[in-house]
């Protein structure tokens, strides 16, 4: 895994002063963040605070209105020329984000293809990989997420947790340097959340660089190197899980965490136990 030539090498993701507007609505208001190799960053925050928008800007699924986003040192989506910026071609966008994988809340599998085809098709189409090799790689990826026995199943024949694991395998097959997850377990029945989080834990321990928008505070507390709290389009708090969950006294953050704990309390005892 380790191929670090320079210690303290440049961040994989470097977001500088990014603003995003939808018409007159300002959704991101000057976001700065860096994600370094092998780091896990969890992004938390209230609904509508701009978490998805931020992640989608980093993937260039959304054009940011202002600022700069660098992926492994390359400016994403635009070229800077005499003071202004110009949108580059789709092919150029693809080139810069070729090492970025994205996992969606709604899985977004292609329903007319089997699990195997979902993973193999992009390898054939965008990497020009021969059919046999693509199928072999796809099978290996599905095995990695515990679905070696369901390669021929169509998405509609799989549970939500299994579908999301196919989604993860599909992104992993492209050998990304960073994986972005937008609420990967929010569409799942509670008993299926664990299997997806386990796959993500394994990835993190293998050294995958990850940015995860999540409402799973337990996961963030255990796995994240950095937790960021986004509120009204700005990063209102950021730091280690301990700093953010226990030390930081930002009132909006405390309120947010308080709401979370109250929602997840399931036993009214002296301890006031909370779900993970």
């Amino acid at each position: 895994m380790a191929e670090e030539k320079t210690p303290n090498s440049r961040p994989i993701i470097d977001v500088r002063g990014v603003w995003k507007r939808f018409g007159s609505a300002e959704v991101l208001k000057g976001i700065d963040l860096q994600i370094k190799k092998s780091e896990v960053t969890c992004i938390i925050g209230p609904s509508g605070s701009g978490k998805s928008t931020l992640l989608r800007c980093i993937a260039f699924l959304e054009e940011y209105s202002e600022g700069e986003i660098y992926i492994e040192g390359e400016l994403l989506g635009f070229s800077l020329e005499n003071g202004g910026r110009r949108r580059v071609s789709d092919a150029e966008v693809d080139r810069v984000r070729r090492n970025v994988g994205f996992v969606f809340q709604q899985f977004n599998l292609w329903p007319h293809m089997s699990a195997l085809e979902n993973v193999a098709m992009p390898l054939k189409l965008s990497r020009g990989m021969p059919r046999e090799e693509a199928a072999r790689r796809a099978r290996a990826m599905l095995e990695k997420v515990g679905l070696g026995h369901r390669t021929q199943a169509y998405p509609s024949q799989l549970s939500g947790g299994q579908q999301q694991r196919v989604g993860i395998a599909r992104a992993l097959a492209m050998e990304p340097h960073i994986m972005l997850f937008d609420e990967p377990t929010s569409a799942l029945d509670p008993e299926l959340v664990g299997e997806v989080l386990q796959v993500m834990r394994d990835l993190a321990s293998e050294g995958m660089t990850m940015a995860v928008v999540t409402h799973e505070m337990g996961f963030a507390a255990q796995v994240a190197d950095t937790v960021m709290f986004i509120d009204h389009g700005i990063i209102a708090a950021s730091g280690s899980p301990n700093e953010v969950f226990r030390e930081n006294q930002n009132s909006r953050l405390r309120q947010f965490l308080q709401n979370y704990f109250e929602r997840n309390v399931f036993w009214q005892g002296s301890e006031g136990a909370a779900a993970p």
Binding site: R98, F102, N108, L109, W110, P111, L125, S126, Q157, R170
Partner: protein, 223 residues
């Protein structure tokens, strides 16, 4: 006057010729129309509005004016623009342009029916927009739009009759001339109706079989 089917058997040669010609025009117009419709819809989908604008005008004009007028303009107006077409070529081209406008609208609705998230997922995997159309959108939307495509194809079979006005000897014009010389309108018109009805049945049956094939992945949803 009695119902005399001999009229049909006596003229079977002319009727057969007319029918063959009708089927050729229909098949040619439909295949070319589908190609035009698909290309127009894809260009509208993938390019900016300045390129799409003339195509929108084309679609609006073809849908907003009678096919008869369009044929007249292509055939009789063509020479003014240096387009000297035979009746047959003008007719098939006219039918293709007319059908293409409707087909493009059907394809356009089909493209929209595929959830955008699936396209985003494909874009994140570095798949080009055109390859997404081919591998993600078309295979899924085909199930949905097949009935509409089949319906339009049947409508085009009936529009072939309009080609008689630019002297193409297709089935309707053959039947008309037999009718007007023998006055056996009932027999000839019944025959004509039966033939177009057969076209309808053939297309519908073909569409149903195709639907089952391209829709296999949807049937599995039910278990």
């Amino acid at each position: 006057m009695t119902f005399n089917l001999a009229i049909l058997t006596d003229n079977w040669r002319d009727l057969l010729d007319g029918m063959v010609l009708t089927v050729l025009i229909w098949a040619g117009g439909t295949v070319m129309g589908l190609a035009i419709g698909l290309m127009v819809a894809v260009v509208q989908l993938l390019t900016n509005r300045w390129i799409a604008a003339p195509l929108n005008v084309y679609v609006a004009v073809m849908r907003g004016t009678p096919f008869l007028i369009q044929l007249f303009i292509i055939y009789y107006g063509g020479p003014f623009f240096g387009l000297d077409l035979t009746p047959m070529v003008a007719g098939v081209a006219g039918l293709a342009l007319y059908g293409g406008a409707y087909f493009s609208e059907i394809f356009r609705a089909g493209f929209v029916s595929v959830p955008p998230g699936q396209i985003e997922a494909a874009r994140m995997m570095g798949i080009s927009r055109l390859a997404i159309v081919r591998h993600v959108q078309l295979p899924q939307m085909l199930v949905i739009i097949l009935p509409a495509l089949a319906n339009m194809t049947v409508l085009l079979s009936k529009e072939t009759a309009v080609l008689s006005v630019i002297t193409v000897n297709e089935l309707t014009s053959v039947v008309q001339s037999i009718g007007s010389t023998t006055f056996a309108f009932a027999e000839t018109l019944l025959f004509l109706a039966l033939v177009y009805w057969a076209f309808l049945e053939i297309v519908t049956a073909a569409a149903r079989r195709l639907e089952k094939r391209v829709g296999r992945f949807m049937l599995r949803t039910q278990n």
